[in-house]
């Protein structure tokens, strides 16, 4: 009734204002939902909020560089709100994932070692559109396959998290985000001996690629252990 007594111009203006307000709110919502934060304030700041859903993100580094510690954090974030999947090339160690906060009952583990198997597994997982994050070991795949996986991730609004040594040029071009990790400092609980344990290490994560982020920014993330292996 209130609208009925307004003039046509005023009605149009009111409608436009309402539409703009709704658009702004929904855009903000989409922006929040489209990014998966790591939960580390400094890293999230460097990554403009986190890693983008609907694309490929690569964690690069040597075999002992802290990549998995950061990947586990993203898996923990994903399993806190839904389901995630990990393609396991035989190296996954679930007890440490659980310590990192990953809800193992919400993490689907697929054993696959050969590149084609890894690609097929990723394809099926992304097509299902139910897994928020799909963790993948880097495999030498053809450009067309990476392209397809990127498209599938985009359609599923899922994050395809690739853990590898160094991204090949085609994979690097398809990736929405790249992080290079190194272990910078290792700390122990005491003097060398049977009562000494690994206390943790500091990971230097350098942003190589991320839209709106400053390339080359280095963020330090602490990984703390409480393993209880010592007797």
């Amino acid at each position: 009734m209130a609208l009925a007594i307004l003039s046509a111009t005023a009605r149009s203006e009111a409608f436009q204002a309402l539409k703009a307000s709704l658009d702004m709110r929904s855009a903000a919502l989409v922006e929040v939902e489209a990014i998966l934060p790591s939960g580390f304030a400094e890293l999230d700041r460097a990554l403009c909020g986190g890693l983008p859903r609907g694309g490929i993100a690569i964690l690069e580094g040597d075999p002992s560089s802290g990549r998995m510690a950061i990947a586990a954090r993203f898996l923990a974030q994903a399993t806190a709100r839904g389901l995630a999947a990990a393609v396991d090339d035989g190296r996954l160690y679930p007890p440490d994932l659980a310590r990192a906060g990953v809800a193992l009952e919400r993490l689907l583990v697929i054993p696959a070692e050969r590149p084609l198997e890894i690609a097929r597994a990723a394809d099926i997982l992304l097509r299902s559109r139910v897994f928020g994050v799909v963790l993948l070991p880097q495999a030498p795949l053809r450009t067309a396959l990476w392209s397809r996986l990127r498209d599938l991730a985009q359609k599923a609004a899922a994050l395809l998290l690739v853990v590898g040594t160094q991204a090949e040029s085609d994979l690097a071009s398809f990736a929405s985000a790249r992080l290079h990790c190194t272990i910078e400092r290792v700390s122990w609980t005491g003097a060398p001996g049977p009562f000494c344990e690994l206390a943790g290490y500091e990971i230097g994560a350098r942003v190589l690629k991320r839209r709106r982020a400053i390339p080359g920014t280095v963020v330090r993330v602490r990984a703390l252990a409480k393993r209880g292996d010592a007797l």
Binding site: S65, P194, C196
Partner: protein, 423 residues
């Protein structure tokens, strides 16, 4: 009137007792629609309103069950206990209404199924038959023997208040396509399968049920028969979800000849219906999970699993993999945060291989070939287990090498192995 059929020594005389007993009960449907399946070997049929005299019923019962070739005892009476007692007296015994107490009176107390101490106590009181028990005053007898004694006394008087419980009908839902040509291409098979799925889902919806396990039988032209069991993560009556899972399962199969027949059967039924939630739209679809699992199994030969941490001494024994089942409730807490406040070092398991290690004192100082200097080292942690079958005795170390790599290595006997790398 109730008709009791008792097969003496049924469990001993028959193997696969449940199947045979079900077949016998199915056959007895010809006698009465109300068949009570309480114990294998004994059944009661409610004969009220059934044509014929009691003598005819006895003959019909023998005729119906003759094909099974088992010894039968048939009794007829007004209630279950007396009908069972009548069958115990002799085959074909018929107790006329009003004669129940007289029929059971001379029978021994064993018919009540009492435990030996109670039976002995009654014998000490001089009670040996049901007639003698019925002669006892009800109130004092129940006060002395407890609440259950009330029923014993009623049985001894020829009274049994227990009604007949008709057995539940086993619902069979299936559909098949035969004799309508052959299917040579996958699309033709999927088309036929879609028809069957729609029929089955229609029947499921009518019955208010959902399918938890499907069985597809594919008959080839050359006589081969392939039976596929397809499990559904969550029972469903949705044709799209069912067809997706079936397709995913069949994608991995290959056939030597065109398919000439298809049969789809619901192998396990569950109650249908899904509680609707107000804010469930963001939850993962369990059927999509089921389809993904079926596809993974078809393509990779291994379905997905989920890890579970178990207490163990050895690193590689600290987890096991179970079948992946999405949580029954997808009520995720949107505000939930992971428990760990910081990152956690992640051990990555490597294929166990022997390595060269140079010791200084009792700790590694050079590792690998070419040798790399050990900067820091923690350990040894002694693991000694499995002495009763496969003994494992080893010393584990965490070593930091000069290039910054952190490894978990161990010594077993005189040899050194690498177990994992921290990443």
């Amino acid at each position: 009137m109730l008709l009791c059929i008792h097969v003496p020594g049924f469990a001993v005389a028959v193997t696969r007792t449940r199947e045979v007993w079900n077949a016998m009960l199915d056959a007895l449907d010809a006698l009465s629609p109300l068949v009570d399946d309480l114990v294998e070997g004994t059944t009661y049929l409610d004969m009220r309103g059934i044509d014929g005299a009691p003598g005819d019923w006895v003959r019909r019962a023998h005729g119906v069950l003759a094909e099974f070739g088992l010894p039968l005892r048939v009794g007829i009476a007004a209630n279950k206990f007396v009908a069972r007692a009548a069958a115990n007296v002799r085959d074909g015994c018929i107790c006329e209404p009003g004669g129940e107490r007289a029929l059971v009176a001379p029978l021994p107390l064993d018919l009540l199924g009492l435990d030996p101490p109670t039976l002995e106590r009654l014998h000490l009181f001089g009670v040996r038959t049901l007639g003698e028990l019925a002669g006892l005053p009800h109130g004092p007898f129940v006060r002395r023997f407890g609440r259950a004694a009330s029923l014993w006394h009623a049985h001894a008087c020829g009274v049994d208040p227990e009604p007949v419980f008709p057995r539940a009908r086993e619902l069979q839902i299936d559909a098949s396509l035969y004799g309508e040509g052959t299917a040579e291409r996958a699309e033709q098979v999927y088309f036929a399968l879609r028809l069957l799925v729609e029929r089955v889902c229609r029947d499921l919806s009518r019955a208010g049920k959902a399918a938890a396990l499907l069985q597809v039988t594919l008959e080839c032209e050359n006589g081969d028969v392939r039976v596929l069991q397809v499990g559904l993560v969550r029972a469903t009556s949705d044709p799209h979800a069912m067809l997706d899972v079936l397709r995913a399962k069949i994608e991995g199969a290959s056939f030597g000849a065109p398919i000439s027949g298809l049969h789809l059967r619901v192998a396990r039924l569950e109650e249908g219906g899904t509680p609707a939630a107000l804010f469930a739209c963001g939850e993962p679809d369990p059927q999509a999970v089921a389809v993904a699992l079926a596809r993974l199994e078809a393509v990779l030969g291994a379905s997905g699993s989920r890890a579970r941490v178990v207490p163990a001494r050895r690193v590689e024994a600290r987890f096991v993999y179970d079948v992946f089942l999405p949580p029954a409730s997808f009520a995720y807490d949107a505000l939930a945060e992971p428990a760990a406040p910081s990152a956690v070092p992640q051990l990555r398991l490597l294929a166990v291989r022997e390595i060269d290690v140079v010791l200084r004192g009792n700790a590694p100082s050079f590792v690998g070939s070419p040798p790399r200097v050990v900067i820091d080292c923690a350990g040894p942690w002694r693991i000694d287990e499995g002495w009763f079958d496969t003994p494992v005795a080893r010393d584990e170390f965490d070593v930091l090498l000069e290039d910054g790599a952190l490894y978990r290595i161990y010594r077993q006997g005189e040899r050194w192995y690498v177990r994992g790398v921290y990443d």
